[in-house]
């Protein structure tokens, strides 16, 4: 299983980027937070239009099952994320990726429904 965090850089101990479409990157880990890899999405963040759907496409390409983020994706992105059956947890914008993972495991994050 792949878990993606919306992040502002390649650092599991930095605070998350609360935005979905315009996050600088995704930190993708397995279900144990054992190894993680970084996907740079700054080109999407700098685009004028359609950042949310583009990010959802990256989620699809990287076979992500769970997204942990801050504010929650917008309507266009959710259209695609729902098709992909990706589970979204929002409200983690104040945590680092490592902390957010612990909160997720403890069942403290709420599932996002648009």
């Amino acid at each position: 299983m792949n878990i993606a965090f919306t992040v502002s850089g390649n650092d599991p101990d930095a605070v998350l980027d609360p935005r979905f479409g315009r996050a600088a990157g995704l930190l993708i880990t397995d279900e144990n937070f054992a190894d993680h890899r970084y996907v740079d999405t700054s080109d999407i963040a700098q685009g004028a239009h359609g950042a949310g759907p583009r990010m959802a496409q990256v989620i699809a390409d990287d076979h992500v099952n769970v997204v942990i983020t801050g504010n929650g994706p917008g309507g266009n992105a959710m259209t695609i994320l729902k098709k992909l059956n990706v589970v979204i947890y929002a409200g983690a914008g104040q945590f680092t990726a490592r902390e957010a993972f612990a909160q997720y495991k403890a069942g403290n994050l709420r599932e996002f429904a648009s």
Binding site: A48, H49, G50, N76, T79, I80, K83, L84
Partner: protein, 276 residues
């Protein structure tokens, strides 16, 4: 002649000026008041009456034909706006992100994205003696105003057109300013009014023109604005409670506020280069 009433800052007094100026001028000649602030048109509130729909504004967008599609993904690569997204074995079309460029439709090897039309706004109008009011109104939920503005501009064929422009300096305001002969910029003596006026002036100057500036709610001066306005031809509308009250009631104020009538007269002279 097309006169754009624009401003950088929203709420500076565009609609107040456009509605009163159009009504004032219509006492002397036929005038069309064109509301191009299509995201929140409100000029018509000041001219209640029988409006009828002139036409619906439509836009083209691609419709996905699943049976014809080979899932090659080319459509997603050519769309500059990510309005067409091949994902999870489907092609998802976001109609409201689409700019109608036809690239995906034309380049699709199997013609799986034929263009269809959908409504995006309405143009309506009413006639009051020598004043015609035309309004462009975008449908709720739409994201792109320019096609509706374009359609509204196309309906105003009178000799004298006063345009209530969209606020700001984005493509919406540019569309109106670039097609106008005269641009009147409305500002107010506040830091926000000053800041956005500097942007709007720079925009008008890019089109090789000088704007006429109307200083609305003129009272306590704001130093940096007063300094910036040195050298501009400006018309002042004083900060006036009666004017504000009438406006808030949805009424035209110029016949009740002599200072506003004077300002309109002054502005009209500058617009038409009449001798005082």
């Amino acid at each position: 002649m097309r006169i754009a009433i624009a401003s950088g800052k929203g709420g500076a007094g565009k609609t107040m000026l456009a509605t009163n100026l159009a009504h004032y001028l219509s006492r002397q000649r036929p005038v069309t008041l064109l509301d191009c602030d299509v995201e929140e048109p409100n000029s018509a509130l000041f001219f209640p009456g029988e409006y009828y729909d002139v036409r619906r504004v439509t836009r083209k967008y691609p419709e996905w034909n699943s049976d014809a599609c080979t899932r090659c993904g080319l459509c997603g690569e050519v769309c500059a706006f990510h309005a067409v997204l091949p994902v999870a074995g489907e092609v998802v079309v976001f109609e409201r992100l689409c700019h109608g460029c036809h690239a995906c439709s034309e380049l699709c090897p199997t013609q799986a994205l034929p263009m269809a039309a959908r409504g995006t706004g309405t143009i309506r109008q009413a006639q009051f003696n020598d004043l015609r009011v035309i309004e462009g109104r975008m449908d709720v939920g739409e994201e792109q105003a320019v096609p509706v503005i374009d359609a509204a501009l196309g309906e105003a064929k009178a000799e004298l057109v006063i345009i209530d422009a969209p606020p700001g300096t984005a493509c919406t305001a540019q569309k109106v300013i670039e097609t106008s002969d005269v641009t009147v910029l409305v500002t107010e003596p506040t830091p926000f009014g000053f800041h956005d006026l500097t942007l709007a002036v720079a925009l008008v100057q890019k089109y090789g023109r000088e704007p006429l500036v109307v200083l609305n709610r003129d009272g306590d001066p704001y130093g940096p604005l007063a300094q910036f306005l040195t050298g501009f031809e400006i018309v002042r509308i004083p900060d006036d409670r009666t004017l504000a009250t009438l406006y808030a009631d949805g009424r035209l104020a110029w016949e009740h506020v002599p200072a506003l009538e004077n300002a309109l007269k002054n502005l009209a002279q500058r617009i038409f280069h009449e001798k005082t």
